[in-house]
């Protein structure tokens, strides 16, 4: 048996020590593998931890890929002074491309260009992929077999989102007639987004 206090300590430490966000399943099969616990009990502990940290400098947040501790958003400006080199700024063109892929995924570069009315720079596509926000999930079965892009869990995590639907403007799916879904063959069916 494990006491509530011990359980809370292990869950807390495991999330802090992990390099990525941690899911309930990862906790159950990892740090808690030697105890027989069920998911509701872990959820309860996570709720308690969220409460414990509500007023603190870091908070327990659930993002797309699991739970993680992150610093309070209001502290951003102060903390940015510690690491001025870390804070990147993204151009409107990059954010629009990203929003478009999130909304219409899976989508091709050609479709992005048609909607934005400008050619998409290779630099932007490279940045999006290097950051791990966008990846190729298949190819469209049309001449040239253009790559189909989709957003990733890392993208959602970076913007503290659990799903694309958390962005109000993008919550409504695009009109079906513009999508030609049937023409799209997604090779990699799990892209874990939405």
């Amino acid at each position: 048996m494990i006491s509530d206090k011990q359980l809370k300590q292990i869950v807390e430490a495991a999330i802090f020590a992990a390099e990525q966000a941690v899911t309930v399943d990862q906790l159950l099969s990892g740090a808690l593998a030697n105890f027989s616990l069920n998911r509701p009990r872990i959820r309860q502990v996570l709720d308690q931890l969220q409460d414990d940290y509500r007023e603190r400098g870091v908070q327990l947040v659930e993002v797309a890929s699991g739970f993680r501790f992150q610093t309070r958003a209001e502290l951003g400006p102060a903390l940015a002074n510690m690491w001025p080199e870390r804070a990147p700024r993204y151009s409107a063109a990059l954010l629009e491309t990203l929003a478009l892929i999130a909304w219409r995924q899976p989508t091709t570069r050609g479709e992005i260009e048609a909607i934005r009315g400008v050619s998409v720079s290779t630099q932007i596509m490279r940045t999006l992929q290097e950051r791990g926000w966008v990846k190729v999930v298949g190819h469209k079965e049309v001449p040239g077999r253009p790559a189909l892009f989709a957003t990733t869990k890392e993208f959602l995590d970076y913007f503290s989102l659990q799903s694309v639907a958390d962005i109000p403007a993008l919550a409504e799916p695009p009109e079906p007639d513009t999508r030609e879904r049937d023409m799209i063959e997604v090779l990699n069916s799990e892209n874990g987004t939405n």
Binding site: A13, G76, F159
Partner: protein, 277 residues
């Protein structure tokens, strides 16, 4: 074309010209070239510029006022052309599209003018509405808390990985086999140790005999044999006992002829003979 600027749309300055913040695109006829350049950089493309012009008219996209918009759009594009801005090509494609729509609208209307399908503006309106979603989405995305700008992921130092590294590594029989082949080669090269397959089970049996003797003071010689192992097993045990005796690791004691032979560890006997300290 001198409408008041719609400043609510952009609360942040578009940029700075000679240190002065610019909150909106200038609508004066005279635009300093550096301001225009900045201004055009603030548009992410022709759709953005078009949307801006429509908004400035306070019009709905659905009522796309194609004539004035086309006129204003062309003025911007001409300015861009004069400044030889790089993006001009994309803007020219849009200009051609606007000109085409305009010319189609100027043609005599046919009977089915109610039919939206035939409105030459329909395709552009659809694209504008889609683009509006995307632009709005991009702005909302920008307002989301962003990692490394608004928040940082917290982490704590842990030695758990080192503990994990202490998990015993797996070894395959092939690894062991290879290691054995290496040491056998070594022994062969030294040539004064026996390299024998049979010796192996004998040596192993020697260990087991010693192990048993470590738990009891002495054993009846016959207890060291297990007949269920068959003849080969008995031979192995016998060889093991002889070898242990030869190496001085055990002692065989027989009080008188034909009496029971006892086997004990050499050291235990030695200890018995010496008075305890």
């Amino acid at each position: 074309m001198l409408e008041p600027p719609v400043t609510e749309q952009h609360s942040l300055p578009l940029g700075f010209v000679r240190g002065e913040p610019m909150f909106d695109r200038p609508d004066d006829l005279y635009i300093p070239p550096e301001a225009l350049e900045l201004m055009l950089e603030a548009f992410s493309g022709p759709m953005d510029l078009l949307l801006y012009l429509i908004r400035r008219q306070k019009m709905d996209i659905l009522d796309l006022p194609i004539l004035p918009i086309t006129k204003q759009y062309m003025e911007y594009v001409e300015l861009m052309h004069e400044l030889k801005l790089e993006l001009a090509a994309d803007y020219l494609v849009m200009a051609a599209m606007l000109a085409e729509i305009k010319s189609r609208l100027l043609l005599p209307q046919l009977a089915s003018e109610e039919d939206e399908e035939l409105d030459p503006r329909a395709e552009l309106i659809r694209r504008l509405r889609e683009y509006e979603v995307v632009r709005e989405g991009a702005q909302q995305l920008d307002h989301q808390p962003q990692q490394e700008r608004d928040f940082f992921v917290g982490s704590a130092f842990t030695d758990a990985q080192d503990i994990a590294a202490q998990e015993p590594p797996a070894v395959t029989l092939a690894d062991l086999s290879l290691a054995l082949a290496r040491v056998m080669q070594l022994v062969k090269a030294q040539a004064h140790h026996q390299v024998m397959r049979e010796a192996l089970s004998t040596r192993e049996r020697m260990s087991r005999v010693l192990e048993r003797l470590s738990q009891v003071k002495r054993l009846d010689f016959v207890e060291l044999f297990d007949v269920s192992e068959g003849k080969a097993g008995v031979v192995v045990s016998f060889l093991a006992i002889l070898e242990l005796n030869k190496e001085g690791l055990i002692r065989l004691i027989q009080a008188e002829a034909y009496s029971v032979i006892y086997v004990s560890r050499y050291e235990q006997l030695a200890q018995e003979e010496t008075p305890a300290l």
